[in-house]
């Protein structure tokens, strides 16, 4: 068993993911893969990459769901089905069950910034942490035999060899819809905290009691077009009236 930090971490680094603009393009998924396969720890391997049973290790995946909202007020037009693209990676929980379940101390939560990491030198590949994670956010690398997970690109965010503006996770830097935001969720004044407050940022499966750091922003409210459907220009009496109006407009130019 491994202990979590005894005190709340002074920083809670994490991601805020905006479901209002995520179009499910998979840019974050692949950018994560390419950064991390050459970055922290073992490569993210792919098995049978050109064959029938292709699979690989990804630290971030997008799941797509169809939903048909009942109301018209909050998430969409009444009765019209929607497709929700839902990116998912480690949520860097405050009460991370993947850490406490680890028999070797390989899985740990950093005391200063709250990032949950796997020390691959200590990882025996038992897979308990993946079972403990209610989000399915950890993946065993079949080639390396160690557990892989989102590191928040720890080898980017503190990397003094890259420009400061690029010291963000690869998924955040690449996202074409700017649906992914990185910051300190312990700081109420941070851009991500303000975003969460303003947009009603949500925890994923709060009933699990894991206190995830990452937050999801729900789709913005939208109004059905049909609510505006008042018949146009009821007083029009065919083309004659129309051209009289046109002439009138021309006179005013």
């Amino acid at each position: 068993m491994t202990s979590l930090p005894s005190q709340p971490t002074p920083k809670k680094l994490g991601l805020v993911i905006d479901l209002d603009v995520c179009v499910g393009c998979h840019a974050c998924v692949v950018s994560c893969k390419e950064w991390n396969t050459g970055g922290y720890g073992a490569a993210l391997s792919d098995q049978d990459p050109y064959g029938p049973d292709v699979s690989g290790t990804f630290l971030n995946r997008i799941h797509s769901f169809e939903v048909t909202p009942e109301g018209g007020e909050v998430v969409g037009e009444a009765g019209a089905a929607r497709l929700i693209h839902f990116p998912k990676s480690c949520l860097h929980c405050e009460d991370a069950p993947c850490v406490t379940v680890c028999p070797t101390g390989a899985s740990y939560k950093r005391t200063d910034d709250g990032i949950v990491l796997v020390d691959e030198d200590m990882c025996i590949g038992c897979g308990l942490c993946a079972w403990a994670c209610p989000y399915g956010a950890r993946e065993m690398d079949l080639a390396a035999g160690v557990m892989k997970k989102c590191t928040l690109c720890i080898d980017r965010i503190y990397n003094e060899t890259i420009p400061e503006v690029d010291r963000v996770p690869s998924c955040v830097r690449t996202c074409p819809t700017n649906a992914r935001h990185f910051g300190d969720l312990a700081d109420p004044g941070s851009a991500v905290s303000i975003m969460v407050a303003e947009r009603g940022g949500m925890d994923l499966m709060p009933e699990q009691g894991t206190k995830p750091v990452n937050k999801y922003l729900p789709p913005r409210p939208r109004k059905p077009l049909a609510a505006k459907a008042v018949p146009a220009a009821e007083d029009t009496r065919g083309a004659t009236g129309f051209f009289a109006w046109v002439d009138d407009m021309l006179d005013r130019i």
């Binding site: 393009c25 840019a27 050459g38």
Partner: protein
């Protein structure tokens, strides 16, 4: 817990090389990180005007594209029968000698016997120039099966279209309406823009039978029935006219609304514009009550009322005809709702919202500017409503007129190139007459001589068609013939069928680049494969005798080539993204870019463009060899720098002149490519603030365009809501104007070539028994693969390994279908057996799938048992390149009758439950998988792990 070893500041790479992505047609700037000579990481270039740092899934997977085992590694000469994939490796010298021999013989004997067509390439200014110097009339790129309807309708209506011609004003638009599948072109800017406008609280409406991709985040989804977008748009026009939500000032100033149309039925002038002796169109001036030339200073033209010219002919402003047409109740929302599959209230709601935002939320930018008539304005007035569309509305047989309708709508509300509207990107706008006429008539070519002018362009009337004295096509694809008069991008999808049939004539050599015509880029794939394999009974020769193909990867098409010229990957080559070709400008800036070899090839491959230049010299083509027969250019890089299209104007606009200080026009600069590389491999020149809007009529912009070398004199555009060019074709089809259309084409031209945008039923829908084929079936490429075949890419193929047929819940219920069931999907042409998935995010009459996920066994270096080859499938097998017989003795191509655009999305189908299966049908004999070793595990970057 502090004993965990972490190296947080490890340098990412040894070196960063900036170049341009080529995973799709977006052409984003990329930073390629190299470590130990290998690609470590590819990220978006933050300074680049296209992507501003972001990068999509395709771009981020460049490593796997670059190192894919499907890469070809040597020139190949076919040894087995076509399709078998059996080849012998040959040297480049042997390959080039053979190609020169085959091509030289054709050029000498009968140059039209070469058909040279390019697919997904971005070097059309070179390939077209080469083809012109070769002298064959048979050249085009792939626009005919892509989006020529969009391009041609846009250019003919407003002098530009979406994507490469312009973009929504993402910073200011308050209502953005996107029609049809458009995830393809300009994808990163679209994603960035949609996100931006949603954050500002602007409304995003998606009109699309399928709600995926960008439509998934739309505020409103209008699940239109495929092929009815035009009806919907004209209903919006009806409502806006009725509600007087149109910009009269804008119409008078910038469109041909006031131009007088001759009303003289049964004469050769009927429906044409009345013109003065100099050919200037006339308007009726309301103050002096006289007819004067359009553009006369101080004139106040009328938009309505009939009058009589001095020669006695009756005339009326085109706007009069327009308003009468669209105010007609048959365009009312109620009249079309059923057919469109959208209730009238929603259509009216959209019209009302467009009108409200355009006029009640108009914006103004304080910026004095002068129009081309010399009038000074203090502000730019913006109607912040913008639109976008691409293949979704384009790939129908009524796509041209639908795209015209969409431009009509934009002009009526005054939203073209204004703040908040659709904005042109240089070198557009460009008026129709500034484009060339097509060349390829028999007098335009001959033995060992160049073609008399460019292949592609716009006919201004039937007199410009490429037909012989009997009206028969002179091009192999029948482009610019009566069958597809304004086929501005050619009809690549008809080349193999026509060459096989010898109609209009057989060819000797088919030369293709990056076009998977033996698979997903052809309609009737199985039929096309048979045509490529078919032999002449008398001689035993293949009906299409010689096929030369260039590609970087072992696509299905490679197996059908006789000679394969292996191309490099995008990281190993020079390229230019040129203003002469398909530009990457933004509304506020003129941009172009290069690619350069950021890694050296490790195989015996050469960049196709350099090979083409080499072939040009070996063939002693003018423009590629000098008078002594010596090569003019060492390679493509040399050509990019030194080629001049006009004096001082070459492929790249930046860093010209010996001092590298000239933009647009200037002497060739030997150091130009280095200057591009130093600048991040792109060049950007800002448009002056007073020139940024209303470019079609903005004096400062027109001057800027001349300075940049887009034109040699100002070329303002008057929006052509009423098209005189289309009317000329109609008059020919009515036998009223010379040259008269051949009898067989008349009915179709009369009904399709209406001078005002119109809607007609898609041809396949009109030609089949609707009760036998009650549903629509359409396709789209997924965002992670668009314009990027992708399945040879180990990372991308994990995202889309197979493609179910998505079937609406109501159709599932009606046929007793559930997720994972197998069905037979049948069209008038064929049937396929596939697996389904239930979906509610789709129009009730429409099913769809991801296109081109299905692969032929053995192709792309994939294991023949891969899901792409077993469960994946193509809808192409259901789509015939010809329409069902109509009983008129003709077989019409399944294309738009105006532009020849392939009507992929007109497909009608029926569905029935089938026995469960393990593989989709049809299934083809496996191709040989290639010779390269294929890893059974990848641990890319493991050597850098610590």
């Amino acid at each position: 817990m502090s004993d965990h070893r972490l190296d947080l500041s490890r340098p990412v790479s040894d070196e960063v090389r900036k170049t341009t992505c080529y995973m799709c047609a977006c052409r984003c700037g990329i930073d390629v990180h190299l470590k130990d000579g290998k690609v470590r990481y590819i990220e978006g270039n933050r300074d680049h005007p296209v992507n501003k740092g972001v990068l999509c899934a395709k771009g981020s997977s460049g490593i796997m594209q670059h190192y894919a085992p499907a890469r070809l590694d040597s020139p190949l000469l076919r040894t087995g029968p076509r399709g078998s994939g059996e080849f012998r490796k040959i040297s480049w010298e042997e390959a080039l000698r053979l190609a020169t021999e085959w091509l030289g013989e054709v050029r000498d004997r009968d140059p039209k016997k070469l058909a040279f067509f390019t697919g997904r390439d971005q070097s059309q200014s070179l390939t077209s120039f080469w083809a012109q110097q070769f002298g064959t009339p048979n050249y085009a790129a792939h626009g005919g099966f892509c989006s020529v309807n969009m391009a041609a309708a846009g250019i003919m209506t407003i002098g530009g279209a979406f994507w490469e011609f312009g973009a929504p004003d993402w910073e200011r638009t308050k209502l953005f309406v996107m029609f049809g599948v458009a995830e393809d072109h300009d994808s990163n800017p679209l994603k960035m823009g949609i996100s931006k406008l949603k954050k500002r609280g602007a409304r995003f409406v998606s009109v699309n039978p399928v709600r995926t991709g960008y439509s998934a985040v739309a505020d409103n989804w209008i699940g239109v029935r495929p092929g009815t977008d035009g009806l919907l748009i004209l209903a919006l026009v009806h409502e806006l006219l009725k509600a007087r939500r149109i910009d009269i000032d804008y119409l008078v100033r910038y469109s041909n609304a006031p131009w007088l149309v001759i009303d003289a039925p049964e004469t050769a002038d009927h429906g044409l514009f009345a013109r003065d002796a100099e050919g200037k169109p006339l308007v009726f001036e309301t103050v002096t009550e006289r007819v004067v030339p359009a553009g006369t200073k101080g004139a106040r033209p009328s938009l309505s009322g009939r009058t009589t010219l001095s020669d006695g002919r009756a005339v009326a402003p085109s706007f009069q005809l327009l308003a009468e047409e669209y105010l007609d109740p048959r365009h009312a929302p109620e009249a079309v709702a059923d057919r469109v599959g959208v209730d009238a209230a929603t259509i009216r709601g959209l019209a009302e919202e467009i009108g409200r935002v355009a006029f009640d939320e108009a914006i103004e930018i304080e910026q004095p500017w002068t129009d081309v008539y010399g009038q000074r304005h203090q502000t730019f007035v913006g109607r912040p409503v913008s639109f976008h569309a691409m293949r979704g509305i384009s790939a129908h047989s009524n796509g041209f007129q639908t795209a015209r309708a969409l431009h009509l709508l934009q002009v009526l509300i005054g939203a073209i190139d204004c703040p908040g509207g659709f904005r042109f990107e240089p070198p557009y706008p460009k008026p129709l007459h500034a484009h060339p006429r097509p060349h390829g008539k028999s007098e335009h070519f001959g033995s060992n001589q160049p073609l008399a002018g460019p292949h592609l362009g716009f006919p201004l009337g039937p007199e410009d068609l490429l037909v012989d004295a009997e009206g028969k096509p002179t091009r192999i694809d029948k482009a610019f013939s009566w069958e597809a008069p304004i086929s501005a991008h050619g009809l690549m999808h008809m080349v193999i069928a026509n060459a096989h049939a010898g109609d209009p004539y057989p060819i000797d050599v088919l030369f293709l680049y990056m076009a998977n015509m033996a698979w997903n880029s052809s309609m009737n794939t199985a039929g096309v494969i048979r045509m490529l394999e078919d032999r002449d009974e008398a001689t035993g020769e293949y009906r299409i005798p010689k096929i030369i193909y260039s590609d970087a990867y072992s696509s299905e098409m490679v197996a059908y080539a006789d000679l394969v010229l292996p191309d490099t990957t995008y990281l190993e080559r020079h390229d230019c993204i040129s203003l002469l070709d398909r530009p990457i400008s933004e509304p506020d800036s003129v941009n172009d870019a290069i690619r350069w070899p950021v890694v050296e090839p490790d195989r015996d491959v050469r960049a196709f463009q350099s090979v083409l230049i080499d072939l040009g010299a070996r063939l002693r083509l003018p423009g590629f060899s000098d008078s002594r027969g010596q090569p003019l250019y060492a390679d493509y890089a040399d050509y990019i720098v030194r080629h001049e299209r006009r004096p001082g104007i070459g492929p790249l606009a930046g860093f010209r002149g010996l001092g590298a200080d000239r933009t647009g026009r200037g002497a060739a600069n030997p150091d130009q490519l280095n200057r591009y590389i130093e600048n991040g491999s792109f060049f950007s020149a800002h448009i002056p603030p007073e020139a940024q809007f209303f470019k079609h009529a903005n004096a400062a912009y027109q001057d800027f365009a001349v300075r940049m070398g887009f034109f040699d004199q100002p070329q303002p555009v008057t929006f052509q809501l009423y098209s005189e060019e289309l009317q000329k074709f109609r008059l020919s089809a009515q036998g009223l104007r010379e040259p008269a259309a051949p009898e067989a084409y008349r009915e179709r031209i009369v009904s399709a070539f209406s001078p005002l945008p119109s809607w007609y039923e898609p041809f396949e829908e009109a030609g089949v028994d609707k009760s036998a084929f009650p549903y629509h079936a359409i396709t789209q490429r997924p965002m992670a693969m668009y314009h990027s075949w992708g399945s040879m890419n180990a990372w991308l193929r994990q995202i889309h390994t197979r493609n179910p047929l998505y079937v609406p819940g109501a159709i599932c219920d009606a046929h007793g279908l559930k997720d994972g069931d197998w069905v037979w999907l049948t069209s008038h042409h064929g049937r396929i057996k596939v697996e389904i998935a239930r979906s509610e995010t789709v129009n009730r009459d429409t099913m769809w799938t991801w296109n081109a996920i299905g692969k032929r066994s053995g192709a792309w270096a994939l294991d023949p048992a891969s899901p792409e080859a077993t469960r994946g499938f193509l809808m192409n097998h259901l789509i015939h390149e010809l329409l069902p017989p109509k009983g008129d003795g003709m077989r019409w191509s399944n294309s738009d009758p105006i532009t020849g655009q392939a009507a992929w999305y007109d497909l009608r189908v029926n569905i029935e439950k089938a026995e469960p299966d393990v593989a989709s049908q049809p299934h083809f004999e496996p191709q040989k998988r290639g010779t390269r070793e294929v890893a059974d595990e990848l641990r890319y970057g493991q050597e850098w792990s610590r």
